[in-house]
Symmetry: D2
Subunit: 338 residues, 4 copies
């Protein structure tokens, strides 16, 4: 490398003197190309590449309280539009998806509310979002019945987390529900830690009741979705992931890609976690290359920011770039999935 090769592309300074579309703003970010703005512009480009790559299975990893905070319809719409092909989520996000599907709501609150007062009022706080306890009680009640129904219909067959999510989606009739959209679109939803959420507590209620009724409970195998997600990765000619937050969903996707001895072709991580304490959520995409989870020549970027800001911008930029009424076809080899 020669010195002049280092100094080829000057930073062009933003200029915002009239109404801009979201994607025009991203163009400005591309011009400057530095710090968070540069990373975000690259993230938008990578999502577009994934969307235009007919061979790419797009995985979405979902951790953190994104659904309570307002991300639900956007994800449901992206699933229906073919712009997400596989979802890997914490249990909690599907709990909150189900709460709304079953008639509950999340409410705007404040991060400095008095939690002792909220406790007395039976209102739960997630940073600045509130959920009334009765919406959880309602969930417990209706979801127990749904579990009964699934248990009755599955007749002793053990489900994977992915089967389970499909059975839930089948029974939730809200079109804005992620689980419903995934069910209708034949998009698999993996819940590798589903037990660690209200869906686990519902199982506790359900199985206690079933025991009294001398009926078998819904059975969920802890390991069987490993083979399923590896199967999807093997069928996929290309793989891309978009990670909101990190956690178990990120690790599950990366490990599945690794298990195929192939590695991801595209990766966008949106997080505020940092690398230095060694946790997976904050680990760099460079580090994943040493494992083979992400290909050495993959298109990758980490955007350090709040996913509630960053991901909608990426989605808005993508939708603007694609043709109107664009519906992305299912990636090749994924046609018969599920």
């Amino acid at each position: 490398m020669q010195r002049k090769d280092l100094l080829t592309e000057p930073v062009k300074h933003f200029r915002i003197n009239s109404k801009l579309s979201v994607n025009q703003l991203i163009q400005q970010f591309q011009n400057s190309g530095s710090f968070g703005a540069g990373r975000l512009a690259v993230a938008c480009d990578i999502y577009e590449k994934m969307a235009r790559d007919k061979d790419c299975t797009i995985f979405l990893g979902l951790a953190g309280a994104l659904v309570p905070a307002g991300m639900r319809s956007l994800i449901a719409d992206l699933i229906r539009g073919g712009l997400i092909n596989v979802v890997v989520s914490t249990g909690a996000n599907m709990v909150h998806d189900s709460i709304e599907a079953l008639g509950g709501h999340h409410y705007k609150g404040h991060w400095l509310m008095d939690d002792h007062v909220l406790y007395r009022y039976h209102v739960y706080r997630i940073y600045d979002v509130l959920v009334p306890e009765e919406d959880f009680v309602n969930l417990d009640y209706k979801m127990t019945a749904i579990y009964d129904d699934i248990a009755d219909q599955s007749k002793g067959k053990t489900l994977s987390s992915c089967d389970f999510a499909r059975e839930l989606g089948k029974r939730l009739e809200d079109p804005d529900s992620i689980l419903r959209a995934a069910y209708e679109s034949n998009v698999p939803v993996f819940l590798p830690a589903v037990r660690d959420s209200e869906l686990g507590y519902v199982h506790f209620l359900h199985s206690t009741r079933r025991k009294l009724a001398k009926k078998p409970p819904l059975l969920l195998d802890a390991f069987s979705d490993v083979a399923e997600i590896i199967g999807i990765c093997r069928k996929s000619k290309k793989m891309g992931m978009i990670i909101l937050g990190g956690g178990v969903p990120r690790n599950t996707i990366q490990s599945a890609a690794l298990a195929t001895k192939s590695g991801l072709d595209y990766a966008v991580v949106i997080t505020m976690d940092r690398a230095e304490t060694g946790g997976l959520s904050g680990s760099t995409l460079e580090e994943t290359v040493s494992w083979g989870k992400v290909k050495g020549q993959a298109s990758t970027v980490t955007v350090y920011g709040d996913a509630m800001i960053i991901f909608p911008i990426m989605a808005a930029s993508l939708i603007e770039r694609l043709d109107k009424n664009h519906k992305r076809p299912r990636p090749k080899n994924m046609e018969k999935l599920a």
Copy 2:
């Protein structure tokens, strides 16, 4: 409240003019009582209170790559000393515990190594720790045999994650192993997302082989440890948690405490994650009060720092405060825990 009540305790400035023990340092931090130093001093006090409270079941939540980085023997020793009564861990930490128990090692590396080179050399990087691929291959190989053995012995019985961890501990003979120490000390280890780790991939190998051999695989129920951990919480007169990192382990412990309608009496969280993006790992202990996960009058503190620094300091301070050769008896009502 009157103004004078606000201004009662002046900050006393540190003074370090001779050799200090770790706990003497913590006394200095208590004198100043501000920022991270004040939080750390409180954390040490809370751990001491838990340890001296005969009724308190002490839960340790373990997320992030703590075992690869050097935390293994310390945790094993604390388990044996009765200073940890229940472990809730990511799968990965137990994977790395097993790697060392089965003869492998972790190596000191650097956070700026070239990951393309590491990939070619089959060396995996976790921030500044390295693991050679062959130690994973060795794990896969030996662990598949262990799974075979567990499957053979359990004769079609479905295990919980807690049963499974006990079966692993029984078969790992390294005294420095967390799983072994827990097995020997009858300390339950919950692995609510065990599938999301190499232990999940091993199951994929194992079950593929068992299918060919027409033998049933090891069966792990995804939900049955929910009832088990709630059972422990119900038996406990008091509950305390120490959280390293956050993630699924933190949520699992908090949810179990909530399910008993009781709430934790003590809580120390060590994390670098932040609250504003709404993830569970960074959520404040104030917020947990609104849910009833932590009691309103509980002793709690969050220390913002690297658990690899903070937790050993807490442990060293505690060991110094306790009588020599102190072995904490199992908390009341937990005596028959299995």
Copy 3:
């Protein structure tokens, strides 16, 4: 407060199904109103309120390498549009503004470049932005001449940092320069730590030369801008601040507002720094209320994010909300400001 008062405004989930303008995106963020998205929507509202408040003097605090990364023209344009009335900046941002005004450039680089190679090539790195050494040498050379000229013209008079910035702006002819735009628009630029930048080193070169030539150097009084900024605050009927980063600029603005016994009416802080270690940059806007730096009933918000992403969004949203060709008149009582 009654329970029902807590649960009044449900989170409305984002919906992005067609091309959106930046402000339409912000409307979506307002609908959800949670986490970073909610904070950003509030920040846009506050900037609009400031802009429409004829009495409000709008202070911009500028810390961090925003100018090298592409923020220069945007700030210059906002100054010309009357949407920023006073600038308080680190010296470094004005150094980089001057580098470009004097013909230099910043270049797109990468955060993982080999700094030993860059050192050998005389290329300086600021995260992922590069500056060739010769642009600094050119700055030193031309700026020394400018200092000579200022010293000659000021005839022994001691300048304030604000006078100094005006003299620089007068001599930089680039219309995209922040210093030039401020000079032309009669917007004061405070540089309370100007010595801590290449402008300090230039003074070292200049004063050494002047000594040899037996001429008095440019004299800058360290304290005289205190009275000037307090004077502006006293003349202002209302005060608002937008802080990019924090540091000395934030403290200078807040202290000036405090010195008037009045306090700011509007405050938006954009930062990634955190509160728990006690630094000013990460301190909460709540805390500033105890001092009287910000009024108890002020409109305030902190957005936790990268200023290179967040501030352009705020600016784009504001420009869209204002009438076309909007030029904000100078706030009342600031008309004769010089």
Copy 4:
């Protein structure tokens, strides 16, 4: 490099089974050598190397509210012990040093206090530290008299920030004061942004009064300490820095080292700020190598943590490593420094 060269040093796991001294704990951290623990062990080694290097001038950079939080006596003692040779500080830390020297106090508070109440009570909050307004009023009153005295004695001579700090130290008689200890030990204290603190507001009061009294005010030149700190760097055979926080002090030290065309030989940065948003405080020590601020072969480390925890540990470890009653001689060539 061969593969085996990568895998030479296994992580040794911590073992804490009896009372440990602080330095014994650091030995454990060195054994593991990973994440924050590894970084901290390296930081302790580097501080020891600086202390044992007779040629090394040790610079301390002080930003963030360290003095209010309890760091005052420790720094004063290190100055007297020769373990810090030059201080570069924010104005605010010296303000709080002076508040205590003049009879005031800081008080332990809480980060969730009601700031509206504090405002009514005239109590200022710095995260979880409180300062009563009367201690600031007392400072204003007594410090104005000190400024008068300095102005009278300096007879129109313009001071540098370093002269000014010495004049303050001469007049503060508290042996625990940093300014006093520096004065007595002939350790220069640079205050490159002193105007941005209550010391700036005091000048406003003082100069207003002097104008009425038709007497010249204390005059502080904004630029003259540039030559002074460069002079110290040029005289130093070796240079090391310890940075608490970052900000202007870090930049001032690094720029001075650069101006000598030499670069620092040792560098320890303690911060929670992050690199990705491009600010100087969070910038990596790798990046400084591209500029020549830090030598390519220097001993350097960044510890990501709260300086109130990390720096006392480093100091305690160092004091334990040095001989009892160790007083470090002034570095060579710095003997006549004034």
